[in-house]
């Protein structure tokens, strides 16, 4: 086994400690930004839906303002967003590089995506069900928590999965500007030093990771669909 590794993946074997370290960094970045960014994104998505025309808290000013901000942030390429946010990132977490520095722009980068996907998932729910809830004299807050979200849960899970997968993509990009993680590992060794086996192993690793997340998400969503 060891000989095989040394023979076919010499650089990966050599750099295995770095490799494991970068996996850990990627995991930390994805989990932290996932937790913060997705919560904020889902909340924003809910606000988008309830303030929409005919929504529970119809408010066209909030709706269109929020929609516009999201569209602006979404249209900025992520690499540019990192550069654009350097000052803010430094102010917030004290540094603009490394895992810590990458998390801030990643959160900002994932919120628009998460909120749009949440919005789409929630719009799938039949407005008639909410109307039925209101006719029973149930408060709007309760309807959001106990009708809107549970009814859209399969769609929401799929949205969360898509967000996690694109977060993994974002960590790789953050890596290229000094963010650490698998991306930075692949660029630093695989690309800059022509260690092809590093690139291939990184790609395979990401491929497997993405497939696992996707299939777990699909299974959860299917189980919740009645």
């Amino acid at each position: 086994m060891k000989e095989l590794l040394i023979r076919y993946l010499p650089n990966v074997f050599e750099l295995q400690d770095y490799f494991l370290q970068s996996i850990k960094e990627t995991a930390i970045m994805v989990l932290i930004t996932g937790a913060i960014g997705l919560s904020l994104g889902v909340i924003t998505g809910i606000i988008l839906v309830v303030t929409d025309k005919g929504g529970l808290y119809e408010n066209s000013t909030v709706h269109s303002l929020l929609g516009r901000v999201i569209n602006v942030v979404r249209s900025i390429p992520f690499v540019i967003l990192i550069a654009l946010m350097v000052t803010f990132t430094r102010f917030l977490v004290g540094t603009a590089i490394g895992v810590k520095g990458a998390i801030v722009p990643m959160v900002v980068g994932v919120i628009p995506l998460a909120s749009r996907l949440t919005e789409q998932a929630l719009l799938e729910t039949d407005p008639g069900v909410l109307e039925a809830g209101r006719s029973m004299g149930i408060s709007r807050g309760y309807l959001i928590r106990h009708v809107m979200i549970p009814e859209a849960l399969p769609g929401l899970i799929r949205a969360v999965v898509t967000c996690f997968i694109s977060l993994i993509g974002l960590t790789a990009m953050a890596g290229s500007v000094g963010g650490g993680g698998i991306g930075s590992f692949a660029i630093r060794y695989g690309y800059n030093r022509y260690m092809e086996d590093v690139t291939i192993v990184c790609v395979l690793f990401l491929l497997i990771l993405v497939s696992i997340i996707q299939s777990l998400g699909n299974r959860a969503a299917d189980r919740l669909t009645h």
Partner: protein, 351 residues
Amino acid sequence: MIKLENLEKTYHTDAGDVHALSNVSLTIPKGSVYGIVGASGAGKSTLIRSINLLEKPDAGKVFIDGENITLLSGKSLEQKRQKIGMIFQHFNLLKSKTVYENIAFPLKYRKEKPKEIEKRVDALLKLVDLEDKKGSYPSQLSGGQKQRVAIARALANDPNILLCDEATSALDPQTTASILTLLRNLNEKLGITVVLITHQMSVVKEICDRVAVVEAGQIVEEAQTYELFANPQKEITKRFVDTVFHNDDVERLLEQDDLQKRLSRGEEIWHLVFRGEGANHAYIAELIRKFYLDISVIYGSIEIIQNKPIGNLYVSIGGNDGCLRGALGYLRREGISTEPLLLKETEEAIG
């Protein structure tokens, strides 16, 4: 009792203003089954939604048992709504919850004790005859079963009023009949006031005590169901009533038929409507005997509405002119309405 006073509602759309309700006033007696009929877009949906204020009218008042609920908002309006159940055309059940959880939903919101909830839901399941579907999800049920679940859910809070928004429009005729029977039973057993909107006159015929006809956001006619069918006043009401008697179909057939041939034989075609006792009396035999007329029935039907019959007859009448006029006069005196479909050509007309 539900009392609507001068309700106004206008929707501002890109295509212009739509007056969904204009000056609508209506009194719905306690414990009755009240029908509101109208074509789609007539404003009946807005009308029923203004009873529980899902649609807030621009002006006017809604009284429920004497209380002006248009003044309520927030929590107090929510509490009022708990006493007004509502069911919908597309059932609006929670897909992610079982039949049991759907019915328990309004009770859980009110933080009832789990034991109480279970007792109440089981009783409701029995009431709508769905005890064996407790653990099923809505997607596993037929349309009629879904509507039964929706009815049970609407009754969970023990409402005094049940609003039905086209509740049978998505169901087949047999299922419609069973849901209507259920609604009628609930009305009789629980004394619950049922308000239903529909575009199907057959539904009105089946269960309503009183009916209002809505056209272009206004109530154009309001009467006891039998009266409305027996004596429709407005053109739109006649058209609705005709759909139950199939008069529209008959008249279309007659137009295509060999009317000209009958005419050449000196016959006339009359549409006679018999009400109440008149539907049982042997008028045709009497006319033939007393007035020496040749009468043949082209089409006839009897509908029972609120336990009283209404008969519709299309007859061709031949014979002496004077006898014919005499016969028609006799019928009118007996309270039978006579309407000519095709008359003999008179001398003047030919001249």
